[in-house]
Symmetry: C2
Subunit: 462 residues, 2 copies
């Protein structure tokens, strides 16, 4: 079908406002990192689930590729259309209901994460997923990419927060399981196939998510240690003592803190090689967590410790952590890695991968920080002697070294951003042939014409 014929057909199918004009479409056609551009696509923004079904039925019958998109905050080129339809879910943005006996909220895919956090807070509950992009990323995208973020240590990834899904299949069939069933074993668990499938198996239109009690006491500490083994000992000891109260355990290298401290104009709390930001919380009010935490750290030999004495000081500590991403931009274009590994092997990885990169690229600068509590690291590399986008010419060589060390440590090359198109050709390095064959059989069953997000996970070779 020619682009004109497709446009005409869609105009007949949908309400006028559901087709975006060129100006509105342009913002959706370029990705967050400005690396990927949609081309020859028509942007649709339906305002009902029935509209999504209508679009899918039409595209299925006519073999039109459909690239689903939420808040367009992805980092791996996962919602970029090459022809066909870019299906943006932003208008499915209703909080459908809150169910307090089951501690659950049912929301549509286009709800912004912060909107869901707010709706939960208004019901005196917590929705714990928390990411840098929470002000613009959407729930459908969070589910499709199995988003992680700051609180995974305590609350798990998005996968762990989903009780039920409503999905429109490639042929327009609606599969809806939004009931709050906390136990259910009736055949294979299909929900978990859609979670993390990056829009290749169906269009998620709504989800029932878990809520939690609000947190009413908090304590935050910044701890300096000499090496990562000490950081891991600290994690073990605090986690074992305080259990679920430990909601964050963030790792920051000396170099990352230097950058962020200058950028943020906040002085460094402690002079050390490695830094840990720990936060404890409790659902009960007036629990003296800072006292408990201070005593625990002292008795376990962690003497280089600053405990936040005020909300301002707490925010300053978090600003130091959160500004690392912005501060590192002063180093130039970065080659980023979204990796995770068993916590027991983080030390080995950082030492050996750092050595290998320094040997291959003597000028390389490595900014290491991340979520030690769940073994995932932001491992960003800079080549200060290379100008701007020419850095990308070394991307494959840098990736090769990093991935080799990640895999040798039993790790993953895609922790919380997904595979997208950026890493599609690495999928067979982390999955066995039998697994990839199974994935393709699942794909073929649910999307026999291969119309759903054809540029990610299994792009055609040619």
């Amino acid at each position: 079908m020619s682009p004109e014929a497709l446009k005409n057909a869609l105009q007949n199918l949908l309400a006028p406002h559901e087709l975006l004009d060129d100006a509105d479409a342009q913002a959706l056609f370029i990705d967050q990192r400005r690396r990927y551009h949609s081309q020859n696509a028509i942007a649709l923004m339906p305002d009902s689930v029935a509209g999504v079904q209508k679009i899918m039925r039409f595209c299925h019958e006519n073999r039109i590729p459909v690239t689903p998109q939420g808040g367009n905050t992805g980092l791996v080129g996962g919602s970029v259309a090459q022809g066909g339809v870019l299906l943006n879910l932003s208008r499915l943005n209703q909080i459908r209901r809150i169910n307090l006996p089951d501690n659950a909220i049912t929301v549509e895919a286009g709800c912004v994460l912060a909107q869901v956090q707010k709706a939960a807070a208004e019901a005196s509950r917590l929705f714990p997923l928390s990411l840098a992009s929470e002000g613009s990323c959407q729930i459908g995208g969070n589910i499709a990419c199995n988003a992680g973020g700051l609180n995974v240590l305590r609350y798990g990834t998005m996968r762990d927060l989903v009780l039920g899904l409503e999905v429109v299949l490639a042929d327009g069939t609606l599969v809806s399981h939004l009931e709050t069933l906390h136990k259910n074993t009736t055949g294979y668990e299909i929900k978990h196939l859609f979670i993390g499938s990056e829009g290749t198996l169906g269009i998620i239109t709504a989800a029932t998510l878990k809520l939690f009690p609000q947190l009413r006491s908090i304590a935050t500490a910044w701890v300096g240690v000499e090496n990562i083994n000490q950081a891991i000992e600290l994690l073990i000891s605090v986690r074992n003592a305080f259990a679920e109260r430990l909601i964050s355990c963030e790792l920051v290298s000396r170099f990352a803190l230097d950058l962020s401290s200058r950028f943020s104009q906040i002085s460094q709390p402690i002079d050390a090689e490695w830094h840990i930001l720990i936060e404890l919380s409790d659902s009960l009010p007036d629990i003296p967590l800072d006292e408990y935490l201070g005593e625990h750290l002292y008795h376990h030999g962690f003497h280089h410790t600053v405990l936040a004495q005020s909300e301002q000081q707490r925010q300053d500590l978090w600003t130091l952590r959160e500004n690392i991403s912005a501060a590192q931009k002063g180093l130039g274009v970065s080659i980023k890695h979204d990796i995770a590994m068993p916590i027991e092997r983080v030390t080995e990885f950082i030492q050996q991968c750092g050595q290998a990169l320094n040997t291959a690229f003597p000028q390389i600068q490595i900014v290491v920080f991340g979520h030690l509590g769940d073994g995932s690291l932001h491992y960003n590399t800079f080549l200060p002697d290379v100008l701007d986008n020419r850095v990308y010419e070394s991307e494959n060589a840098v990736n090769q070294i990093v991935y080799q060390h990640v895999l040798a440590c039993g790790g993953t090359i895609a922790a919380e951003h997904g595979i997208g198109s950026l890493k599609a050709y690495h999928l067979n390095s982390v999955r066995l042939p039998a697994e990839i064959a199974l994935m393709q059989a699942i794909k073929a069953q649910l999307d026999p014409h291969g119309i759903l997000n054809p540029n990610v996970l299994f792009p055609k070779e040619n």
Copy 2:
């Protein structure tokens, strides 16, 4: 292949002790409830993963049905062989390792649940899955059936406790992901297909499971309420105040308590229509949880409360709860239901289903108890005017009424025991045609000859 030829071939393939003789095999051939019997099968008990691979390769090539079996404690006829091989995993019973930085334990499928709990405790950690059959059920079966039990409210079902799996596929291929990755999004999540698949997709040989900090403070209360709405209000209020400290919230009807109290020779703690057993715990020692809980209950109007003042009293309260299953045997043969529904609809279900059953069977006695905290109920019915096994003649009629009400309340007919062969013909009442087609496509890809546990989930029609 004739039974004799099969036996000869297996004798050539395996060590002599891996084939059980008739006497040893008989105990594995009859199920826990003594309703189902394996027939014309050869019982194998390999002592290595390589042995499992060898068996599967042979059976795949020769189209021999393979029924996997763990502790043989299932209640739905899920490990009963009709011909072919009964593959018992009991000899794969090693705790492979404990990884403290990642709070994880790697165990083989044949480890008994209590053995894993004990290994965790010896490392000063908690493995929280807890079931009535924990002294004999095995981890492989727990995973294959997505076991639930007493602590799901706090720790989730077995699905939530699995970090990684090692599986032998139908053709003998080994797929092993035992690394402790807390974040990983690299294509479709295949692990969750095997969990809850009841042995139809592969033979689980080992798993890496999550560990948790031990619990060092505890408080237990028995609360009497007038109706289930009050019980749900109690759950909401305690869960919101105490968050993860709430590990159990069990519901007991007046009739169930009457039975158990007489059976246990323990007096009833409170006179009320409905009873709730609440337990709080904390990883920190010396937290005055009983004081907190007592105050909370009093301030929220729950005055019919007994707080356990000693470990003996705590055990007595739990004995009253746990002896219900044994006590009800005095009523005769039961038709059991393993159901779950949204907590918000438990009241409606109990009222309406009870009325419908009483109308259809005026003599019926209903024993209601279960895990209110996660919406799953043991809903056991007795027909005192019917003798012994003739009760089963009414099973379909009773099931029809119960399932109709469960489904009308958005519930499930299989909460934590699985579908097995008992409920296979009900699968299409809880799953859409598109879902069943997907399940069958997954099955066909992983087990093209349909040799794995052919009597459960999708038994052949004839």
